[in-house]
Symmetry: C2
Subunit: 396 residues, 2 copies
């Protein structure tokens, strides 16, 4: 029997994959599960986007342009301009989700055995894309005690080698909810310019910023044009994760020409999804205001309820819709499984994502979980109550 | 300025990319272009597929399952059963186009610097996917004189090294239209079993087989279960290239488990496209009968017209909707550009794909072009007439 590749063997599994059979078994036993583990929002997709697809008159569902249509990319440039990010259509490639934008970016800037520095904890799938391309993830630790702020620049510099090609950040962060300040972005700008690196920023949660704070994009930072690559996506912005539309955005022409070659190999991004995504740009501001208010309210309840729990340490997310919570337990994998296998409160339990999968350093995050607050407030409250009762039982 | 990767530098460009500016300039000068260069069918997408998307009642465009829904994969298994290919839902992963299925397959079975043997000429984008994954394409030449039949097995064996992981075929072939016989598939089966390799078959044109011939899939070959990986796609089958839905199909459990990890990293295939593709499985047989008859008629006209041209050698395609034509010229790149830049017949010219991009061996195919017969018969006739007149002028 022929054998699979080394990279296949080292491809990481999703942090919750191991839990799925236990969740399925719990459901079979009649247990209701509140899902704190996934970032699939319950928010409705803007009607203007859904209607555009329902009313389409295509007779041949043809390939689109490899980089997305001119008209769509011009409208995307308009969206960025409103966010004080000044790019034109040529600086944008439409991709199949932010995932593909990141794959193209990594492939364009790093070779097998090259290194990318990423503050951890980070979005677990970065590991997958890096592994698929043979790129080594070099983590730099950010800590829950500092609310996952940018680690000191010294810590980055210690890790830079001749093989380092880029620093990758997620801003605001999944799984931390941390929003990098303007000063932190400037520090990153200085170091990437000094060492001639790329700065790749996953800014898919740009719209979800709370407490009156403002997002500062790497493309707002003057002088960073040749270094900056933005990964973007419509998935969370318009609650249309199933569209699979993202963007790669850079003013570096060589990067764009190279990424376009990767894009050509896969022909085009999905056509229906582009119809929905182009229409979504017409979403009224009131939609975003409502959604932001809703998430901010959810965050407030989740964090204040979690803070009431004995022995629980929780970050204060300033954006996105995740938080990392440190629990008074030894091993979140075991605990998450136990929640599904052995615990319920009046027939209900919670499913959480063990946070170890969001760290690259072995042994970090083992007593932490990631919670996504994409549920209604009452449900979030009940979920924390279940967690509280579960922790009491688990301690004995 | 930070520099792009070596793999970025070596990513091949689409064989027609260089011609696009010349085509655009021709259009600006008022020249009408008949496109023989692209595989975008003019055939209408089945109404049942289009209607399913128009009538969708989604309110949240959510992620689908990573591997595609159970119900959809069960229906796909039913489709295969009708084609005498016996697989179940667990042997299928739904992907974003056949492109992604191939990326997952290559990543799962080959590491950086590993080798894949491919009969050339082959679908140009195989180069792109191999390059992105750091895999070396090792070509084995099939010749127009033999109508691009499978090269002698000796020729494959000479190329096998410890780094060889697979043989990749496209059946029926893009760009050749060649249909491998049952005997040829059996020969390939013997060699991959002997050398413990995978056999990857791109069977996206399975439905387009002419002259009463029958397609013999690698998964119909008994004893090949652990070696066989099928790449499939809805793009051409239902004329829905813009959906971006394909399948990876294998009975090798380790391959499927590994490919699933690659799939998890990118979350899910596009949701709307899956609605269309699942509905497309209900397309009545009459649709395929009509489409096949139409393509067969187009092929007959194209080939007989090309055969009338002095000094032109053309393969006899038995499937798909492409052919390779050898022209009495030195360099098809120059000729294709000249057709757009300097020639027209009553205000019309043709755009063709130079075939060199479909070969991995330098210097092969330089006097060949690929023609896609995805145009109406009258237009194909006119295109060959234009080509004939152009060749006359070009010779002087």
């Amino acid at each position: 029997m022929p054998s699979i590749s080394r990279r296949g063997k080292t491809m990481p599994e999703s942090p919750i994959r191991k839990l799925v059979p236990f969740a399925e078994a719990a459901i079979k036993r009649g247990i209701k599960i509140i899902h704190l583990n996934i970032g699939q929002p319950d928010i409705k997709t803007p009607k203007v986007a859904l209607d555009a697809v329902r009313n389409n008159t295509l007779e041949v569902l043809a390939y689109s342009r490899t980089e997305g249509s001119e008209s769509y990319r011009e409208k995307i440039a308009g969206y960025y301009a409103k966010n004080d990010i000044h790019v034109d259509a040529d600086n944008i490639i439409v991709t199949t989700g932010g995932s593909e934008a990141l794959s193209f970016a990594l492939g364009s800037i790093a070779d097998n055995d090259d290194e990318i520095i990423i503050p951890e904890p980070f979005y677990a799938n970065y590991n997958g894309f890096a592994n698929a391309s043979g790129i080594k993830v070099v983590p730099v630790v950010s800590s829950i005690e500092n609310n996952f702020a940018l680690p000191p620049i010294d810590e980055f510099e210690k890790l830079i080698t001749p093989r380092t090609k880029a620093i990758l950040i997620c801003n605001p962060g999944n799984p931390t909810g941390y929003l990098y300040t303007r000063e932190e972005i400037k520090k990153l700008a200085t170091i990437v310019k000094k060492h001639n690196l790329f700065l790749v920023a996953d800014e898919v949660y740009r719209e979800f910023i709370y407490d009156g704070r403002e997002h500062y994009s790497i493309l707002q930072e003057k002088g960073l044009e040749e270094h900056a690559i933005i990964i973007d996506s419509v998935s969370k912005r318009y609650s249309m994760c199933g569209a699979r539309i993202g963007y790669l955005v850079s003013k570096n022409k060589e990067v764009m020409q190279t990424a376009l070659k990767f894009a050509q190999a896969r022909l085009s991004p999905p056509t229906y999804a582009q119809i929905a995504s182009e229409a979504a740009l017409e979403t009224p501001q009131s939609y975003f205001d409502d959604v932001k208010k809703e998430y901010e309210g959810r965050r407030n309840i989740l964090i204040s309820e979690l803070n009431k729990l004995e022995g629980v340490v929780v970050g204060q997310p300033q954006g996105a819709f995740y938080c990392i919570a440190q629990l008074p337990i030894d091993n979140a994998d075991t605990f998450a499984q136990w929640l599904l296998e052995d615990f319920n409160l009046n027939g209900e339990t919670v499913m959480v994502a063990p946070a170890a999968g969001f760290y690259a350093t072995d042994g970090l995050g083992t007593n932490q979980i990631r919670i996504a607050y994409v549920l209604k407030k009452e449900e979030l409250k009940r979920a924390v109550h279940i967690l509280k009762e579960a922790l009491k039982v688990y301690a004995h």
